[in-house]
């Protein structure tokens, strides 16, 4: 079935089966990827997929279903499944929004999510990029011993959302990506360096530049060793600062706050970070991964600061959590066709004004651990904010810079944020959904 027809059918069948309200999502995607190893293609993959997801509300009780079989009979079964499951769940007290006039099938081109050039990124161009990058990496440094990760890809996708109140929205996106992982060796010790990027326009992929960067990131850690345990100021490089912060972003979900699973319960209006620090959801950044005009429930999105000048101002809501708090919906709902409606950042941004250069941050204390690699996040507790994480990086002492590994850092993210000494003045390049500059923490506990 065509997406519009399938959405109309599943909503109609849900109504006929007893749902007073329903919303449904259609997602389809196509992708092509190529991996190379030692000058040859190792894998080539292409895919197309489509799926339909339904939320049926029966007397305020939600039931969810999805299907990748898209013939009319399968779509009807999907509707029956959701309505049947709704009888098991408890009421959530939400009403779908009346049709908004300011959101309807806004053209994705305005958000820059679609560039037809992406379809010209074909296997030949991908292989050329891989071979050029591999050759460049191998000649860049004699210590390079292996390039186990080398690949390019393109993907395109289309999402349609419809509800029983008459909303129908659509967006389309496409991107091209390249990544390379290099292993170098010295004195029998291996270190891996990686770099990768995505752009809407494949001509912006600089495979050889990324190869050199990956080599640099690999060899710069050779000879690393532990340093003695103790408190140390830590600079989280912009390569990993978003990864670090994202471990704890669940604290900003209204659902977690309402259920007591966030350290930010009861802290609206209080100081979380130093003055000048702004953390926002930015749905209208041109060309970025999390950009969108309507959210997962069909509401208009808008930029909003959750932390404004260091003060906590609010949380991320969907219709259900907004109703529970008795506030106006904020348009932060997130949804895929197989899952439930949740909430999330539509591009997380730590804003740059007030940011400083890397050199300035590294010299802010006589001794700074500049972290460029995180090793897993499972020692971190997203609820309490407790941090315990293995890291690699450099100990910077004035002009001296020595590589460090086999150490772990511990502390608490919320204490770290409140004592933030400074932040950087730029983001990692490429299309992404998180924009976090490097972050300088006054002190964490280092163990070796």
């Amino acid at each position: 079935m065509k997406p519009g027809d399938a959405l109309a059918l599943v909503l109609e069948e849900a109504r006929a089966a007893g749902a007073q309200e329903a919303d449904a999502i259609w997602e389809e995607s196509e992708s092509l990827s190529l991996d190379a190893f030692e000058g040859k293609v190792q894998n080539l993959e292409r895919s197309d997929s489509a799926g339909l997801g339904l939320r049926a509300l029966v007397d305020g009780r939600p039931g969810y279903s999805f299907t990748e079989r898209l013939a009319p009979e399968a779509v009807r079964r999907c509707a029956r499944d959701a309505v049947a499951l709704a009888r098991f769940t408890d009421p959530i007290g939400l009403r779908l929004p009346e049709l908004a006039t300011d959101v309807h099938a806004l053209p994705s081109v305005e958000l820059g999510l679609w560039n037809p050039a992406v379809e010209r990124f074909d296997p030949k161009a991908m292989l050329e990029a891989c071979l050029a990058a591999e050759a460049r990496a191998r000649e860049a440094d004699p210590r390079v011993v292996n390039i186990p990760h080398l690949g390019a890809s393109r993907s395109t996708g289309r999402t349609l959302l419809a509800n029983s109140k008459g909303f129908l929205g659509e967006r389309r996106s496409g991107s091209a990506s390249f990544g390379i992982g290099v292993v170098s060796r010295e004195d029998g010790i291996d270190k891996m360096g990686w770099d990768g990027i995505s752009w809407r326009d494949p001509s912006r992929l600089d495979a050889e530049g990324l190869a050199l960067q990956a080599v640099q990131r690999s060899v710069e850690l050779l000879g690393a060793h532990p340093i003695p345990s103790g408190p140390v100021p830590v600079l989280f490089d912009e390569r990993i600062s978003a990864q670090f912060l994202s471990i704890f972003l669940g604290a900003f979900l209204a659902d977690a706050v309402q259920k007591g699973q966030s350290r930010l319960v009861g802290r609206v209006g209080q100081r979380l970070a130093p003055p000048g620090f702004h953390l926002s959801t930015q749905p209208h950044l041109v060309g970025m991964s999390g950009s969108r005009f309507f959210d997962g429930e069909g509401l208009a999105t808008s930029p909003r600061r959750l932390v404004d000048d260091g003060i906590l101002r609010g949380f991320l809501h969907n219709l259900e959590t907004a109703a529970r708090d008795g506030i106006a919906p904020t348009g932060d709902a997130v949804r895929g066709y197989t899952g439930r409606v949740s909430a999330g950042f539509s591009n997380l941004q730590v804003e740059l004004p007030g940011g400083r250069s890397r050199e300035s941050l590294e010299q802010a204390f006589p001794r700074v651990l500049h972290v460029v690699k995180l090793e897993g996040s499972t020692g971190c507790n997203p609820v309490s904010g407790d941090v315990s994480i293995g890291v690699q990086g450099f100990l910077v002492q004035g002009a001296s810079r020595t590589p460090v590994d086999r150490v772990s850092l511990s502390g608490n993210i919320f204490e770290t944020l409140s004592e933030l000494e400074g932040w950087g003045d730029n983001y990692r390049p490429g299309i992404r959904s998180q924009f976090v500059p490097s972050l300088l923490a006054r002190t964490l506990q280092l163990a070796s």
Partner: protein, 461 residues
């Protein structure tokens, strides 16, 4: 899928230069229920359907997946893949055809969520919830879920392989949050088996919930863990996640064919103390990671990885075996039709030894008893790993002391192996989900308690 239609598609793939062509047809039904804060918060059902087409041309793997099952559409996919293939003329001898024909019949005792009258799930979730709350007034939140998955798959290849399988997985999870004076701790249990909902009948859901709640409450009194190198007694069952991540992944041919493993070229070498034997076994009845046939149709097997400290073998799919010159082990796996199969683990474990937990506590001096491990990660190319300790205690002169929280274990897999000094007699398997190149798949990890001396502990004090 109609065999004649499939035959024409496979022939077309061969005509376009495939040495081996394969179709993987999958239809999977999912269902899940979540009870949180005494409310059924969500109930979901769904159907996944798709076809994976693999063409092996020399050393290249061309893979496509689609949900469009018409012959024209699939022939179009073959042509698209063939046209996209960069030709580099390399060859690969794939060896003998897989000897796989057959249909695995569904277990007659199996209970499916789609069967009419199946409604014991709500009751099980509510009993589990009450059981956790009854442990302590400090229990402030309980979430319980039931997850069920049934996959019907068909694998056909250009050599005549024809395998049908009907696989079920059922899992119960409980997550408990306990709170005292503003401090929170969590406890989790997540038993699962490769069976239908009949798995629930033999499961003590109340007992599982109690275990999770008691752990969360115990850890409320824990102090920050110390840091530094020390002997660590790693608990049985889920403690095997360290072996899985740090040694299991580097023993997959998927790592070996990219030369991204410290075990390359080391079969026959001593890689651990003689007390250590490690096995990956896909044949354990009903175990979470077991299979009758792997995902390219090879009957599954029991594979000895390390025996008495000597490296014996790798886990190989067909291409990995051919490229690396190793025997196939029935280890080709994929999450779904969306992934080409590669070598993956099934139920991977360190075999039982002879020491008691008290023997090991007595011999460790001062160190950490990591009774229960949390998750972790590893870089297979370098062996570097990092794991969280969910429940830990300090040990001094063989005596178990205060509970500690926030500890992590850090190191390199191949360096840790020789430091496993004693192997316990309390072997246990635990189910989990493993993520890698061919997606998220069900596996078991397992081990008896192991004394590792020393290992780097990261903590706060």
């Amino acid at each position: 899928m109609d065999r004649q239609r499939a035959g024409r598609i496979l022939q077309a793939a061969q005509a376009h230069g495939a040495d081996l062509a394969e179709l993987f047809v999958e239809e999977t039904r999912f269902s899940s229920m979540l009870l949180r804060d005494r409310k059924i918060e969500s109930a979901t059902a769904g159907t996944e359907f798709g076809i994976g087409l693999r063409m092996v041309c020399g050393g290249q793997v061309l893979y496509a997946h689609t949900s469009r099952e018409s012959e024209d559409s699939l022939l179009g996919v073959v042509e698209e893949l063939a046209a996209a293939r960069p030709r580099d003329g390399s060859g690969l001898d794939l060896g003998d055809p897989i000897d796989g024909r057959g249909t695995v019949p569904p277990d007659p005792a199996r209970i499916d969520p789609d069967d009419p009258g199946v409604d014991g799930r709500l009751d099980a979730l509510r009993r589990a919830d009450e059981s956790a709350r009854s442990v302590s007034a400090r229990v402030v939140q309980v979430s319980t879920t039931l997850l069920h998955r049934r996959s019907r798959i068909l694998i056909l290849n250009s050599e005549g392989l024809d395998v049908e399988d009907d696989r079920c997985w059922t899992r119960f999870t409980v997550a408990v949050v306990a709170e005292h004076q503003g401090h929170r701790q969590t406890g989790n249990e997540a038993p699962g088996e490769r069976r239908g909902l009949e798995f629930l009948r033999g499961l003590d859901v109340e007992g599982q919930s109690r275990l999770a709640a008691e752990r969360a409450v115990r850890m409320l009194d824990a102090k920050p863990a110390p840091a530094g190198e020390m002997p660590v007694l790693i608990g049985n069952g889920f403690g095997g996640v360290i072996f899985h991540e740090a040694c299991g992944h580097p023993l997959e041919t998927e790592a070996l064919r990219r030369k991204a493993t410290p075990f390359a070229g080391r079969i026959g070498d001593s890689v651990a103390q003689p007390c250590l034997t490690a096995i990956d076994d896909g044949t354990i009845p009903d175990a979470w990671g077991s299979l009758e046939f792997d995902d390219e149709g090879t009957p599954t097997a029991r594979t000895v990885l390390i025996e008495g400290g000597i490296l014996k073998g790798f886990l190989a799919d067909r291409i990995g075996a051919a490229e690396c010159g190793l025997p196939r082990t029935g280890s080709a796996r994929r999450e779904s039709y969306r992934y080409a199969p590669v070598s993956r683990m099934r139920n991977t474990f360190v075999a039982a030894g002879t020491s008691t937990v008290q023997d090991m506590l007595d011999s460790m001096g001062t160190g950490l008893w990591a009774v229960r491990m949390g998750g972790g990660s590893v870089n297979p190319a370098t062996g570097e790993f990092n794991f969280a300790v969910e429940e830990g205690y300090m040990v001094k002169d063989g005596r178990v002391g205060a509970a500690v929280r926030g500890a992590t274990l850090t190191g390199k897999g191949h360096e840790i192996m020789p430091r496993i000094r004693m192997v316990g007699n309390d072997f246990e398997l635990a189910p989990g989900t493993c993520g890698a190149a061919s997606g998220q798949i069900p596996v078991c990890v397992g081990q008896p308690s192991l004394l590792v001396d020393p290992i780097l502990v990261g903590g706060r004090s």
